[in-house]
């Protein structure tokens, strides 16, 4: 099954399976696949290079309120895949027979079709390797080039069909001076532009020159700080970890618990939405529900709305908005503010310019207090001028300070970040974030 024929393959396969349903059975199917190239670099040489071609189908086999779910890898060979799907359906029937009715089962019974195909123009991977190795020059480049086709599809025995496919590339790299002194950058998109890559690599090399200065060792304490969009992304990932999930709210496990128990607020300039229309993720999910273009999550610093999976909708008696089971945002967007992006160093004055944060976790989830480290491209700034890189610092602070009472402002532009994550398969998630100037950020180690 080639990527370009996967949509038709899913249609045929689910048609074949639907013809083998028994009685009033309902079948929901979700296809996931990719044809990806991965090239890993270290010291501007190739560490590992290869291709991954994978397809799998998940099936929820329903009879009344009883159901069972399962997935199986697909080969693309029709007879083999028919055999595998038939075996899976047989297993699911056996399991379903011993499981009780599921009171929270909810699925789409419509037949609404949708299709979103984003065609990219990635170079051949051999050409990409040439561009990266030659562009790095004598620099110590480390990173990953990932490119190719990703696709997701939904099909049900009711006849509903939804399709998403995208061809994209994502080069995520860092240039290293020595030890942990490094600068981070990425070049991702749909259409490859060799000049754009060269410009980004040149920018990284200029940052390295600053990293060569004697690093400052800062004592623990509070510092005025500017968080770049990439650094703010790490804070946003913590908020997204249950922060907007209806289930997390109803079970009091949300890190934004104080927004519902104490009417706590973030800064009035903080407005956050799940922006499917502006992202690159599929606009449908595994139970067949489509996602609205935008879901308001935080508006003017106040909690505005949840991400609601079909299962939570049924459990808590509200409408679903097409969230996945884990109710995690896939295209989060924070509205920009009024801080001139080109003037952030002057606005910062004296303090820390934080290019990246790293390895965040909650030190007190109920208070939305998290800890983490500074990483790539973090500098000490005096009077609006970068003075020196710093030795890494650990922060431990709550978002109710960083995006609340200590937030000075957000930049007037927002940067789109395409997630470079490749766990199991290439991610389709994205973020659009401004930078944030914070009056004081607490560092502890």
């Amino acid at each position: 099954m080639k990527a370009e024929s996967a949509q038709g393959y899913l249609d045929d396969l689910v048609g074949w399976a639907s013809a083998r349903l028994i009685g009033d059975e309902v079948l929901l199917a979700h296809l996931s696949g990719e044809d990806s190239d991965f090239v890993r670099f270290n010291h501007a040489s190739v560490r590992q290079a290869g291709s991954v071609s994978q397809r799998s189908i998940s099936i929820d086999l329903i009879d009344g309120q009883r159901h069972a779910e399962g997935s199986v890898s697909l080969t693309g060979v029709v007879d083999t895949d028919h055999h595998r799907v038939a075996a899976l359906m047989s297993d699911l029937r056996e399991q379903r027979a011993v499981l009780p009715e599921d009171p929270y089962l909810l699925y789409s019974t419509g037949v609404e079709a949708s299709e979103r195909v984003v065609d990219g123009e990635a170079p051949t991977s051999a050409d990409a390797v040439d561009a990266v190795v030659s562009g790095a020059g004598a620099s110590d480049l480390v990173g990953i080039y990932a490119a190719g086709q990703s696709f997701r599809g939904f099909a049900s025995s009711f006849g509903q069909r939804n399709w998403f496919a995208a061809g994209s590339f994502n080069l995520d790299w860092s240039l290293h001076l020595h030890a942990d002194k490094a600068t981070k950058n990425a070049y991702a998109g749909l259409v490859w532009d060799a000049d754009a890559l060269a410009a980004k690599l040149a920018w990284s090399r200029r940052e390295l020159e600053v990293l060569g200065r004697e690093p400052r060792t800062l004592a623990p304490g509070g510092y005025r700080a500017f968080l770049s969009p990439a650094a703010l992304r790490e804070i946003m990932d913590m908020l997204a970890w249950g922060g907007f999930s209806l289930r997390s709210h109803r079970t009091k496990q949300t890190p934004l618990l104080r927004m519902i128990t104490e009417d706590a607020e973030l800064h009035p300039s903080v407005t956050i939405a799940e922006d499917i229309a502006g992202g690159v993720a599929p606009d449908f999910q595994a139970a067949g529900f489509t996602r609205p273009g935008t879901v308001s999550l935080i508006a003017g610093g106040r909690f505005a709305g949840h991400l609601v999976s079909p299962r939570s909708a049924q459990e808590y008696g509200v409408d679903t908005n097409g969230a996945d089971d884990h109710e995690f945002p896939t295209a989060i967007a924070m509205a920009p503010g009024s801080l001139p992006t080109d003037d952030v160093l002057a606005q910062l004055g004296t303090g820390l310019y934080i290019g990246n944060l790293w390895y965040l976790n909650f030190s007190d989830r109920s208070a939305c207090r998290a800890t983490g480290m500074t990483r790539f491209g973090t500098f000490w700034v005096e009077d609006g001028e970068i003075v020196a890189p710093i030795e890494v610092l650990r922060f431990d602070d709550t978002a109710f300070h960083l995006l609340g009472d200590r937030l000075v402002g957000l930049t007037d532009t927002a940067e789109t970040i395409l997630d470079s994550s490749t766990y199991e398969q290439r991610s389709t998630e994205s973020l659009r974030l401004p930078g944030a100037l914070v009056e004081e950020m607490t560092f502890t180690l």
């Binding site: 399991q95 480390v142 496990q253």
Partner: protein
């Protein structure tokens, strides 16, 4: 091999190219299942059958791989062609130009005392229903669940030099979770953060008392609501084994991965404060610290006969009497560095290439009793069950949190505290190891992320209770 396709091995062998320096085919079929009961409701059961093959080719100083779920003759041929293409494209540009050249023959199967075949699906559901019910014995429990996740993994590594390694691993992850709430205070207790897991069958459930743990977990979650915040100060710290697993993982395991030391992970998982010249002389911890890499522990999560390059597994001391002896590096890292390593070249599945990983990484037991460790503390905290982990990219400055703390005053435990956290620096923390108990709890970590492209792998950790002096300890926001 799958039941469906008994001729697959023949097809794999036929597809392996003979006119290259080295070629391998690594076929993996992983069958997973998940059962969960949450708040009295049986969640949808889920099964997964994930199957494919990766071909790796080394030729003329280049290397490449191609992985596919298409196991037809044509699909395998296409993958081999792609792998050869990558080898040609990378010739002269790789960090190493010599192949590992292992053609190992062997087999390994997880020993199982009590197969899950003896426990029907209905009985497994009933077990979880009972556990979930026992978790719900308090009004202030607002969410609870009991779950059982299992993996059955069959792998076959074939090489063009006659190598054949077949392994069959069975992994079991039981878990219990209780969430208690009052106002803005939410507290969780779990079954060792899901880390009381291992290889085997039903016996994994009994090793750590899964069937009887639910009521205690619920009681402790509720008790934490009324407990004071963890005290702040520099004092003695005892880590229970279900916190030690994380301490070992982050501040010994990752820093000793040779690929990190060689720089492979600098763009993602990070580098290491450990450098190659430290091995053989660097004092990593006090004389009480003994750490082994040991994929041979029966029933531990990452036990195997061979790693994914075919290197035979063996027990090796990485740290002996506090002195750093050996890194965790597989055949390729060993060749790049000129250092001795271990059998730790592991891939998360067929669709990812092997890299240096932890397997079972254990702190060996000492000679004190747990009571003696506690008795030697004037003022300190004992922490149980990891809930938070954060460490810098050199694996040095860390901050970890636990679900529950027990304050120790004048050699006795006095009361529990909530939101216990501590921080330190790996390079000095282990030198403050002042006591190692004689217990030894075999556990796991199921979600170790690393590599580009990213991989999650399951590892094992075993540890006794350990005592550390002069640790910075603190609590939560309120």
């Amino acid at each position: 091999m799958t039941d469906l396709d008994t001729h697959l091995e023949d097809r794999l062998l036929a597809a392996l190219p003979s006119d290259v320096d080295y070629a391998s085919a690594r076929h993996v079929v992983e069958r997973g299942s998940r059962l969960e009961v949450r708040n009295g409701v049986v969640e949808p059961s889920a099964t997964a059958h994930n199957e494919g093959v990766m071909f790796s080719v080394w030729v003329n100083g280049g290397a490449g791989y191609a992985a596919t779920s298409d196991l037809s003759v044509e699909g395998l041929a296409l993958a081999v062609e792609q792998a050869r293409g990558w080898a040609a494209a990378t010739a002269g540009r790789t960090v190493i130009d010599s192949p590992p050249l292992l053609h190992t023959v062997g087999e390994y199967t997880t020993p199982v005392t009590d197969s899950f075949d003896s426990l029907s699906l209905a009985e497994q559901v009933a077990l979880l229903v009972d556990a979930d019910m026992a978790l719900g014995g308090h009004d202030r429990i607002v969410d609870r669940s009991a779950s059982l996740v299992r993996f059955d993994i069959q792998s076959l590594l074939l090489t063009n030099g006659g190598g054949r390694v077949a392994q069959h691993i069975r992994q079991v992850f039981p878990d219990l979770r209780a969430t208690a709430n009052e106002g803005s205070n939410t507290q969780n207790r779990t079954f060792g953060a899901g880390n009381y897991a291992g290889q085997g069958g039903v016996e994994v459930l009994t090793r750590h008392g899964f069937r009887d743990a639910a009521a205690r977990i619920a009681d402790e979650a509720v008790a934490l609501l009324d407990a004071p915040n963890c005290p702040t100060g520099t004092m003695d710290l005892i880590l229970a084994p279900d916190q030690m697993v994380l301490q070992i993982h982050e501040s010994i395991g990752h820093p000793l991965e040779l690929d990190r030391i060689l720089g492979d992970e600098r763009n993602y998982a990070g580098t290491s404060f450990v450098t190659q010249d430290m091995f053989g002389s660097y004092r990593y911890g006090s004389e009480l610290l003994n750490v082994t890499f040991d994929p041979t522990v029966p029933g531990q999560m990452a036990s195997y006969g061979f790693d994914d390059d075919g290197t035979p597994a063996e027990r090796i001391h990485l740290i002996k009497d506090g002195i750093l002896e050996r890194p965790m590096g597989g055949t390729i890292s060993q060749a790049r560095s000129g250092m001795a390593g271990v059998a730790n070249s592991r891939a998360s599945s067929w669709n990812r290439a092997p890299i240096d990983r932890m397997a079972n990484l254990n702190v060996e037991p000492g000679e004190s009793t747990v009571e003696e460790l506690i008795g030697g503390i004037e003022h300190g905290v004992l922490m149980e069950t990891n809930v938070s982990w954060s460490i810098d990219d050199s694996r040095n400055k860390f901050q970890f949190g636990a679900e529950l703390g027990r304050v120790i005053e004048n050699g006795e435990i006095t009361h529990i505290v909530r939101n216990p956290n501590y921080r330190g620096i790996s390079a000095t923390f282990w030198r403050n190891l002042s006591g190692v108990a004689d217990d030894f709890t075999v556990m796991a970590v199921g979600n170790c992320g690393k590599g580009e492209p990213n991989q999650v792998i399951r590892v094992g950790h075993a540890a006794p209770h350990c005592r550390f002096s002069n640790v910075e300890i603190f609590g939560g926001e309120s």
